[in-house]
């Protein structure tokens, strides 16, 4: 469980987007993103980041308060203490007021050529 210094998301919305504030949950604390560019309306791209500086137990993208949100693709850039920066990409998922999407993945185990 590493200490997350910062993470940045890039979310591509599909045919249906709620166009409302995008929130995430870090260790069950719901927060809005900072440094926001774009939106989550239909066919739009949303970018946001957050300087967390805390240990990660869970990180999720919160579904909209009303309606559905077709998430086409999510890319997350993580900066963790003592780890090389890494990127994880997720595929399509549809969120609504009862769901959230996992955005956490541990840093990859070290790999080397043999």
């Amino acid at each position: 469980m590493p200490r997350v210094l910062k993470f940045k998301v890039n979310i591509e919305t599909g045919k249906q987007g709620p166009n409302e504030t995008v929130n995430f949950c870090f260790n069950n604390h719901k927060m809005p993103f900072e440094n926001v560019i774009g939106s989550n309306e239909s066919d739009a791209i949303f970018e946001g980041s957050f300087d967390v500086n805390s240990f990660a137990h869970s990180l999720t993208l919160v579904g909209p308060e009303k309606g559905k949100w077709d998430v086409e693709k999510v890319t997350v850039d993580y900066e963790c203490e003592g780890e090389e920066p890494y990127v994880v990409k997720w595929g399509a998922v549809t969120l609504d007021e009862t769901t959230e999407m996992n955005l956490w993945q541990d840093p990859p185990a070290p790999m080397f050529d043999v």
Partner: protein, 271 residues
């Protein structure tokens, strides 16, 4: 600390914007006000709404598929191998840029089982190799000396052995092994039986349960639920209990994957 400060400061800001005065008043005072003021009594009681006993409905966490990208440069003609030791250091996975066993997997638990399989024979010729699992384009090796967690030296030897076996060009996996792999239905039936009759009755004492998610070729994917999800002994249960039971009941089972998210769920380990 930065995150915590922002979290609490964020809460204060939100409160001050939505309900600037009433929030700081005690509930008792607001109730008195509602009985003495006709204007307030006709409106919904904001304090009661705010301090409702009903807990927030938990959202279901969805797990979208992770989009994986190749770890090797495209169209390389060389044999490229990457070593990735496990977090605990008890095993190391070697990924090769070509398929070693198409659509199936095989577990070699000793040198004798490696007969006629040039890949496994090469690996067992190394002193410290204990078991070998071949699955598609990966080879997972466990070592005899459990006190060593640095794989650098052994990994280079394993890499050279894998490369040598591929270059040799003979059967990486013996034909008799490939022809002995039964159908997915036979494996599914055998694994489900051992789960129902042996594994689940065993883990039920700890509030756990094992579900068979998929059988592809002779590769089995399971999910641990109930008390097993998030349990610190889940890895031990999987490797020493479930693997042993599965291989004893259905010897042709190859790789066994656990797709449990031990950090998620509404009821991880006795919570």
């Amino acid at each position: 600390m930065n995150f915590i400060k922002r979290f609490f400061s964020g809460m204060k800001q939100e409160d001050s914007v939505s309900e600037p005065v009433e929030v700081v008043k005690p509930i008792t005072e607001q109730k008195v006000k509602s009985t003495t003021s006709s204007t307030v009594a006709t409106e919904p009681d904001a304090a009661e709404e705010r301090f409702s006993d009903a807990p927030p409905v938990p959202r279901v966490v969805l797990h979208a598929p992770v989009v994986s990208e190749s770890i090797f440069p495209a169209e390389s003609e060389d044999i490229l191998i990457k070593a990735q030791p496990s977090q605990t250091g008890d095993q190391c996975m070697f990924t090769v840029n070509q398929v070693l066993m198409k659509g199936a997997s095989w577990y070699f638990d000793n040198f004798e089982s490696a007969a006629e399989s040039s890949l496994a024979e090469s690996l067992f010729s190394l002193d410290d190799v204990e078991t070998v699992l071949v699955c598609e384009s990966t080879v997972t090796v466990t070592r005899k000396d459990k006190t060593l967690i640095d794989w650098t030296a052994l990994a280079k030897e394993v890499g050279a052995a894998i490369r040598g076996a591929i270059e040799e060009g003979s059967y990486l996996i013996a034909e008799k092994i490939i022809s002995s792999i039964p159908s997915e239905d036979v494996i599914r039936e055998g694994i489900q039986k051992v789960i129902d009759e042996e594994v689940n009755p065993g883990v039920a004492g700890h509030g756990g349960q094992i579900n068979l998610l998929a059988v592809k070729g002779n590769t089995v994917t399971i999910q641990m639920g109930g008390g097993c999800q998030g349990c610190s002994a889940a890895d031990l249960t999987l490797k020493q209990g479930i693997h042993t039971s599965f291989r004893k009941a259905v010897p042709q089972v190859g790789a066994i994957f656990d797709e449990t998210d031990h950090t998620a769920g509404l009821n991880p380990y006795f919570s």
